[in-house]
Structures are given as structure tokens and as C-alpha cells.
Amino acid sequence: MKEADEFHAILKDPVSYGRKMKEQGRKIVGYFCSYTPEEIIYAAGAHPFRIFASGENIHFADAHFQSYCCSLVRGALEGALAGNLDFLDGAVFPHTCDSIQRLSDIWRMNVKGPFHADIVLPVKLDTESARSYMIDVLRKFRKDLASHLRVEITDDMLKNAIGTFNTIRRSLKRLYELKAENPGIISGRDVYAIVKASMMMDRDHLTEALPAVIGELEKKKGNAELYAGKRIVLAGGICNHPDIYRIIEDAGAVVVWDDFCTGSRYFEESVKDNADPMAAIAGRYIERPVCPAKHAGIFTRGENLLKIAKEKDARGVVFLFLKFCDPHAFDYPYMKEFLDREGIPSMMLEVEDQLPSEGQLRTRFETFVDML
């Protein structure tokens, strides 16, 4: 759809987009992973800009990493060392997996941005002490960022930011719902581009661009093709592969939901109305579905995936993992077992920044879809 064009354009060349914002005098704070409290960055008057792998061949980053680091970490550092991220006024590293923590150290010593923040989040999220600890950690981030940018971040500014991000999250969720209810209404590739570019786009513009997309879809939903293929759900960490959606659709299936850091985990749960905005932001992270680098109960991730598959009436699940992502790999066997027990077929695909040869991918997906 043509409303998705500007999202595709940003994803195609995020560096130019970031540089253009910088030229307009904006402060830009780069970040990794959906545990970054974007509300605080936005409240400080800065622009939160999510960093992904550059997609370039690796020349610089390999001098700093062992061979077992994932392509996200490798590709992101490559982009920074190649000078592509010179528009950033800072970078934020939430404490998640080992590789991201070490990336933070390497970044601090080699990229040397003007502002560098580690947000040392709790790992276990299901205790009372985790909640108060989380609030403290976020407060520290608020204080550090405000002092670096020489601004004051008031509670009212934070509440305004929470309002903006809740609106964005609601819109993205509505986009997913429309797709799940009428899979033929919009291509998987468009949905992918919209949700990912939302993590980079100017958020004030985004609050207008997303309703425009949704408005078009609401108009179309009555006459859309009801059947677009066998319904499947994707699960994993980062998806950096728009072509996957086309290959899945060619194989006769359609993605109706996901459990991705670059998908539903980004927009699930709103920040509640609360007298203390910091407690409210922390509360969302505690209630939201977790990623495998966090703990909220022994089986919560498996139960959440099963719930998604059932609610969205999915016939199969495809796990899409970045190679060397051990948090996801460790959770995989039990999550697969959860699906097996319910008779939901699944397939696991390990990829790097670039997809394996398309012929073999097609063979896998066509066979899997035939099994469903």
C-alpha cells in the first residue's frame, strides 16, 4: 500500500533519515532493544532511534568480537565504526544478553559517543524488589540523560511522552489486529516495515502517519480477501528480513502475529496512568511479555506463545532466531514442546543478517506449509 512507502524508505536508508533529523537540529539518542524507555528520551526533547545491523559486509567489527557474537551486535558496531552513526548524540544499552553488554563496553571504548548509558535492568521481573529496583534504575537514566542534554525532564513532560507512546503502541496493535482479522488486507512486508520504521521515525509525525495507514485499512477491511493462506505466527528476537514475508506468502501461508522484539513485544501493554510516571513506565516492562534475557516465571514465555497461537487461530509457528543468540536457543526446546503438546507444528530457522539461499528457504517453507 502506498501509505507504507515512507516507512519502507526509512528502513531502506536509516542513516540518511537520521542525518536529516540531525541537520534539523534534533538531538538523537540511539538505542538497542525494546527495553529502552523511549518515553524518557522523548521527554528530554531528544529523538529515540533504534539501531540495527548495517547490512554491510563486516570490515571493522570483527577486530573486536569473537566469532560467536550475533549479526545484530556485529552489524551495529560495524555501522558505528564505519562512521554511519555519526549523527547520534548518544547510545543506550539496556542490560539484556551478554553480547549486548559487551557491545556496550566495546562501544564505549571505540565508538566514543558523547553520551553512553547502560540501563542495568533487573533480570528477574516477578518480585517486588525488582519493581522498586527497576524504578531506581530508570530514575538514574532520567537524571543522567537530563544532565547530559542540559535539560530538565519534568513529570509533566514524561506524562506527555507516555501519552504519545501509548498512542503509537495502540496504533501498531490495531495494525496487527487488522492484519490478523483480514490477512489479505496488507502484505506482511508492509506490516514489517511499518512497525520497524516506527522505531526510527520522528514520533510526532508517526502519531499522524500511523492513523493514516489504519484509516485506509479500516476502509478496505470489508472487501478484503478473507483467505490469504494458512495462518502462522513468527517468534524470536529481531527480524531483519522483509523477504521472509514474501517467501511465506508465496508458499501459501500468511503471518498473522508475532512474538518479536521488533514486533509485538514493542507495542504490547500500555503504560498505565499513574501519579508517578517513572513507576508507570517501570510497570509496563514488568507486565509486558518478556524476552528470553528476562525472567517472569518459568513457563511465561511458552504460555504467552501458546496464547498468541490459539487466539490468532494459527496453524503453525516459525521460530526465527539469529545465529548465536543463546537466550532464544535455550528457551526453544521447551517452547517447542509446549506447541507439540497442543499439536501445533513448528519450524526453527537460524539466520544471520543475510538470509540463506532463497531456493533452500523456499523448500523449507513450502514443505512446512504443506505439513500444516
Binding site: S357, T363, E366, T367, M371
Partner: protein, 256 residues
């Protein structure tokens, strides 16, 4: 009804013709550069050998990596589905299929009707594929057809530890220069392929009866090494190399 299956693989292209559920003939040619040409050629030549006309054939299913390059098929299906169907047709007791082809290898678990229940595919590198064997045969100056029987005469199989085909080739070259005999080196190469395949098969929890298909199934050395590694008997039919084409012809008969 007469049906045909055409399996266009990375190295060879296979065709099978069936009539009323019986195999009438099969044929193998090299794929070469042009997959469409190979598919057309093997099909036309097989029909000529069988004294049939194209109009005699009711339905055609194509498979293999080049399955969409021919245009005269009624349906294209993946080689995983077709190998499952072919193995089931040839032996209804088959519950697992190990297919080692030219550019990848697959383990397939079947239900009692020959439908794919689960599968795994090694498409990351050439180790554990027919191409690996070809590279080694060149380094050893041995005809690939002699590989299997030569390896059975090995007294003490060499250890090939590299998983990468290119590094494994240099390992083989160092073994040659050390004066290791061919039989032992070839047996070591087979052990290394079998170890790769067994790891994939065990993760999939394959169950008996295990059938091996694809061109590499013709190599008795790999089959024996695989049996030892998975601890199960491995059956190889005389149609192992054309199993995917047979599966395609079999599935063509059931097309609606």
C-alpha cells in the same frame, strides 16, 4: 493413468514414469547449467525409451531445487515432500528418510501414510553433501563410484576433523602427503559425513524403519558408517537416486 515425476537436483536430474501405481521406467541425466533444459531432456528421453508420447501422460509433478524452472508440470512440490512419498511408496514401513543430495542433506520423519511429520535440512555448508564427496574424490584421484567399496577395505579409518569442505580437503591432502592409504582416508571421509547427518537425524528423533535416498545412498561406505552412528539399520532401495522422482510421479496420481 500414466503419471511422471521430474526431480531437478543441483547435480543430476531424474525422471520417473508410473502407470496405474507401477514404476514403468526411470532415468538420470546431469543437470548442468540449464535446469529447464535438463528437466525437458530427461523427460523426453525417458518417454522415448518407454515408447510413449507426451499425450499419454496424464499428470506431471516436478520437484527438486529446479522444480519451478520447467513449465510443463501440473504442480511443483518440494523434494522433502516427494522423497517422503517415494520412500513410502517403495516401502510403506518407512518412517524416516535420510536424503543426501548434491548440495544439501535432509532428515525427514513420516507418518504411516508417508506424509511429512517433521524435517531438518542442512543447507548451511557443503559438509555432509554429495558435493563434499566429489571434492574429496578429486583430491584422491579416485572415481566416485569406487568410493564405497574401497572404504570397506579400510583397516583404520583416518580422522577428518574439519567440518568445512575446503579445510577438510586440505586435511585430506596432508594425509595423502603423510602416506596414509586411500582406503583409510576414504573411510574417514565417510565417517565425517555420517557424523554430520547423524547429528541432524538424532535431533529430529528419527525412528525405524530408516530409508536412505539421494545419490549418496549408492555409496555403501556412507550407508554403513551412518548405520553405526545412528544405531539403526538403514535400507537403500535400488531406486534410491530416483526416489524423489518416483515420489513426484506417485503424488501426481493423487492430484485433484
Amino acid at each position: 493413468m500414466i503419471t511422471a515425476g521430474i526431480d531437478i537436483g543441483s547435480i543430476t536430474t531424474k525422471a520417473a514414469v508410473m502407470a496405474e501405481g507401477k514404476i514403468r521406467g526411470t532415468k538420470v541425466v546431469f543437470t548442468g547449467y540449464n535446469a529447464e533444459q535438463a528437466g525437458t531432456k530427461v523427460y523426453e528421453e525417458l518417454l522415448a525409451e518407454l515408447g510413449m508420447e507426451k499425450s499419454d501422460v496424464g499428470r506431471i509433478v516436478s520437484t527438486g531445487y529446479g522444480r519451478n524452472s520447467v513449465k510443463f508440470m501440473d504442480k511443483a512440490m518440494t523434494e522433502i515432500i516427494c522423497h517422503g512419498a517415494g520412500a513410502h511408496y517403495l516401502n510403506p514401513r518407512a518412517r524416516s528418510v535420510i536424503d543426501i543430495g548434491g548440495q544439501d542433506s535432509k532428515a525427514i520423519v513420516l507418518d504411516e501414510k508417508g506424509k511429512v511429520k517433521n524435517f531438518a535440512m542442512n543447507d548451511k555448508c557443503a559438509a555432509g553433501t554429495g558435493r563434499f564427496l566429489e571434492v574429496m574424490a578429486r583430491a584422491l584421484e579416485v572415481d566416485l563410484d569406487g568410493f564405497g567399496t574401497l572404504s570397506l577395505r579400510a583397516g583404520d579409518p583416518s580422522r577428518i576433523s574439519s567440518l568445512c569442505t575446503v579445510f577438510a580437503e586440505s586435511e585430506v591432502i596432508s594425509l595423502i602427503s603423510k602416506g596414509e592409504n586411500r582406503e583409510n582416508i576414504i573411510a574417514g571421509i565417510h565417517e565425517s559425513i555420517a557424523a554430520r547427518i547423524a547429528a541432524m537425524a538424532n535431533r529430529l528423533r528419527i525412528a525405524p524403519l530408516v530409508v536412505m535416498t539421494g545419490g549418496v545412498a549408492k555409496n555403501i561406505g556412507v550407508v554403513k558408517a551412518l548405520e553405526r552412528k545412528i544405531g539403526m539399520a538403514v535400507e537403500v532401495s535400488e531406486y534410491a537416486q530416483v526416489n524423489g522422482a518416483i515420489g513426484a510421479a506417485f503424488l501426481a496420481a493423487g492430484l485433484k
